[in-house]
């Protein structure tokens, strides 16, 4: 396989932009990459795909000098290189968008954009005006609406993701590495990125593109390499392969095997959209009470938000970047003060001042920023997964390790969570597996209402299917789910109906069966 690639490249006559041979890397005795060959041509967009924990991020972090390899060779434009740090790689013309983001929360957008390369006057003073100007220009050029002076801590996950992309682009590198750049982005921002990639490609920039969205990969990439368990399983031009083949290679089984399809929606108690509820009672059927209802809720960022989720329903929240989807979840979960209006749980008005109360009432939230809001990175998988449960327990509650281990293992199994030793700090898990830890935490407490904010970010296909199944089943048990996702396919696939959020208000509602295209159209 690699021989063929080599041929193709040498046919082009030039040395590849980047070539790795026999890369090996282990952490604390765990071999993560085992003899990986990889070649990247100038002017190509080269996808690297694989399941969570396959070693994709580790591979690119070796290319970028974040980690030091244990074996193998690395060449940049034909010259052997050895990067001791990202800084060294940066100087050689490599820029990277990190999966876990590399932003300093306490600093501004502009400062982050030009991190470590801030414009200085001849005398060495920081030139703030030039910094702001350059930031504004770059953001405008990329079509990103961000105030250069905003503090990064205030940005949403999507805004941070865009900033991270802009930051890498700003380096004008010859080799650009993107590790799941669209995990938090919706179709519209992704499209912006793809246009940008085509332009960079035209300028001869070599791009490594890591993603779990094979649709995107096949839309924008020239070649696709598949990593499986730390080995390069295949490498082919996208034109010469298919999604099914790639999926099979990722999973390590023959193409066509079952298990790739989205789950069929389980039969649920008849879903009753808001409008239908009135009809229900009018028809004389016992009026059913919504499990979760918002009546004219207003917060600092929301106005007049009303909707209801009935037992057995999965309701989607669709909207553009910054439309207020997360704010709606925040209002329910006690994170934002409800200034007027009412939140009702099973028909009874509730006042929720803290997440603690929310969880006590059977509401859980999967937050959109896993590392900031979801995980204590130094704690191990079990302690993170059980955090919510420990939070509800009486302080002196005695913990039974065996019992805990079993429940964590069960959750991990349901989600396909792959953690080499649950006793290790989650800092060292792959991005997707970290996301699965946060999900497992949500599932660890008994809840009636699940608020999911971008639950699929960074999750591989298998995991995603597992989650969709779990959501489906959870609803089928008579519970309620509110789902925020930038992936309209997910929303279309699992939601009973979808609320359109615009400028902090509910702007409309789409019934089930509209499909991703329908949602996209409605949002325009």
């Amino acid at each position: 396989m690699t021989a063929a690639v080599d041929l193709a490249l040498s046919g082009a006559g030039a040395a590849p932009a980047l070539r790795a041979r026999g890369l090996r890397k282990g952490f604390d005795g765990n071999l993560v990459l085992d003899g990986v060959d990889f070649a990247l041509a100038a002017g190509e967009v080269h996808a690297v795909v694989g399941s969570n924990g396959a070693g994709k991020s580790t591979l690119v972090k070796l290319l970028n000098g974040c980690h030091q390899r244990d074996g193998g060779t690395l060449e940049l434009f034909g010259a052997a290189v050895n990067f001791s740090s990202p800084r060294a790689a940066g100087r050689a013309g490599i820029a990277m968008v990190y999966q876990e983001l590399s932003l300093i929360a306490s600093m501004s957008v502009a400062e982050n954009l030009f991190m470590a390369r801030w414009p200085c006057s001849a005398a060495g003073w920081l030139d703030e005006a030039a910094l702001a100007g350059a930031a504004r220009r770059l953001l405008a050029e990329l079509g990103i609406a961000l105030d250069p002076w905003r503090c990064v801590a205030e940005l949403s996950a999507a805004e941070q993701q865009l900033l991270e992309i802009a930051k890498a682009v700003a380096r004008q590198a010859r080799v650009l590495i993107l590790d799941e750049p669209t995990a938090a982005l919706s179709a519209r921002e992704s499209a912006l990125l793809f246009a940008l990639l085509r332009r960079l490609k035209g300028q001869g920039v070599a791009v490594v593109y890591i993603s779990h969205s094979l649709g995107d990969v096949f839309a924008v990439c020239d070649r696709v390499s598949v990593l499986r368990d730390g080995r390069m399983a295949s490498c082919a031009a996208v034109a010469a392969t298919s999604i099914a083949t790639v999926l099979a290679e990722m999973a390590g089984r023959p193409p066509g095997a079952a298990g790739q399809q989205r789950p069929q929606r389980a039969p649920r108690p008849a879903a009753a959209p808001v409008a239908a509820a009135a009809a229900d009672s009018a028809a004389g059927a016992a009026p059913r009470t919504p499990l979760l209802e918002l009546r004219n809720v207003a917060t600092a960022a929301l106005a007049d938000v009303s909707f209801a989720v009935y037992p057995g329903q999965v309701v989607g929240l669709a909207g553009l970047l910054g439309s207020g989807r997360s704010q709606i979840l925040a209002a329910i979960f006690g994170l934002a003060r409800v200034e007027s209006g009412q939140v009702l749980l099973a028909g009874a008005p509730v006042t929720i001042g803290t997440p603690r109360q929310a969880i006590g009432l059977g509401i859980v939230l999967l937050p959109e920023q896993r590392r900031r809001q979801g995980l204590a990175l130094e704690l191990d998988v079990a302690d993170n997964v059980l955090m919510a449960r420990h939070g509800q327990a009486r302080p002196w509650r005695w913990l039974v390790p065996e019992q805990e281990r079993r429940s964590v293992a069960a959750l991990a199994r349901r989600l396909g969570l792959r953690a080499d030793g649950a006793g290790r700090a989650v800092r060292y898990l792959s991005g997707g597996n970290q996301q699965k830890v946060v999900l497992a935490k949500c599932l660890s407490t008994p809840a009636r209402v699940m608020l999911l904010d971008e639950p699929m970010a960074g999750i591989d296909l298998q995991g995603k299917l597992a989650i969709l199944r779990i959501v489906d089943q959870f609803a089928a048990e008579g519970n309620a789910v509110l789902l925020v996702s930038s992936d309209y396919d997910d929303i279309a696939g699992v939601c009973d109906h979808t609320l359109l959020v615009r400028r902090g208000r509910i702007a409309g509602q789409l019934a089930a069966g509209q499909g991703a295209a329908g949602i996209l159209a409605a949002l325009q």
Binding site: L379, M387, R405, V408, A409, Q462
Partner: protein, 325 residues
């Protein structure tokens, strides 16, 4: 699908506790230093059972304070007032002893608890950084202690009290050692085996994530400061029992030693990581080094230099990046 199941099973189930050998280096360092001193000081009585008991006695109270501080640092807070609380509790116990042992012990613990509660309320409810709250509280408590004691050393003239709280020996073992084991054991269990311990580590590891997970972070911070102050009060009682007197200077020099013991033991100054057993071993290392330096017959200057070198050397072995990353 089945695939996923099998794979994840294989991956999560096996080692519940991944053996992080670097976390155990500190025990090796402890053993190494013990061996070193045993050889170097073989003619100077280092290994005498009596001297080993001296080390235990001299370290026990520090170790007890280190247990409390482990919780505080694990929760990403700090307590600079505990030295003053030690003295306040000792003086309170001494002043109340004429009214009975129970009054003395309860009074001292209550005085400590009051200080801890105030610290906790100011940190958790008012939102002032614990460094400043406890710096201020330390001054207030020290001033009060000086005032109520009139700068005098107050004798504790009660054999039973002295025996139980610091001076006695049970068989060959000093009661102080038993106190240390008791507090250490309870502390270890509290941090590792109860929901409270998990809440402390989560709050210190990531306050926001802990809050999102329904942990009452302010309450946890209040509780660790309270716990630490109560342990400081216990330390004060034990100091008083051991010295059979109490005065305002007790505890004033222990701050750095206690924090150092905790950090040597592997607890992070930035929260989220803590080990009670590590802290106790850290305290034992510090105590053993001090003891050995004195036995070596060095003068104070030399002791200071060598102590610094040993701390840095030991930490190079335990925490230094052995391999390039």
């Amino acid at each position: 699908m089945e695939q996923v199941v099998n794979r994840s099973e294989a991956v999560v189930a096996p080692q519940r506790q991944h053996f992080a050998w670097r976390n155990y280096l500190i025990y090796l360092v402890f053993a190494g230093l013990l061996l070193l001193f045993a050889v170097l000081l073989r003619d100077k009585g280092f290994l005498d059972p009596a001297n080993l008991m001296n080390i235990a006695r001299q370290t026990a109270v520090i170790a007890i304070m280190a247990v409390g501080m482990t919780f505080v640092l694990s929760a990403a807070e700090i307590d600079l007032s505990f030295g003053a609380v030690v003295a306040l509790a000792a003086v309170t116990a001494a002043l109340l002893l004429p009214h009975g042992v129970l009054a003395a012990v309860l009074g001292a613990l209550l005085a400590g608890a009051a200080c801890g509660l105030l610290n906790g309320l100011l940190v958790a409810r008012v939102g002032i950084p614990s460094f400043l709250v406890t710096l201020g509280m330390g001054g207030i408590v020290a001033g009060v202690t000086r005032w109520i004691s009139g700068l005098q050393s107050i004798p504790l003239d009660h054999e039973g009290f002295a025996f139980v709280f610091g001076s006695g020996d049970i068989g060959p073992l000093p009661v102080l050692l038993l106190w240390m084991l008791l507090v250490g054991g309870l502390g270890h269990v509290l941090l590792r085996k109860t929901a409270f311990g998990k809440q402390v580590l989560a709050s210190g590891g990531n306050k926001i994530a802990a809050m999102y997970s329904g942990i009452d972070v302010p309450r946890v911070k209040l509780q660790v400061l309270l716990l630490n102050a109560v342990l400081a009060a216990l330390a004060g009682i034990l100091y008083a029992g051991r010295m059979q007197s109490a005065r305002y200077t007790l505890g004033e020099n222990d701050l750095m030693m206690v924090i150092a013991a905790v950090i040597i033991g592997g607890t992070s100054l930035f929260g989220g990581k803590g080990s009670v057993v590590g802290s106790i071993v850290g305290a034992l290392i510090m105590g053993m080094v001090n003891n050995a330096l004195v036995l070596m017959g060095l003068n104070v200057d030399q002791q200071m230099i060598l102590r610094g070198l040993i701390i840095i050397g030991a930490m190079t072995l335990t925490m230094g990046r052995l391999r390039k990353r």
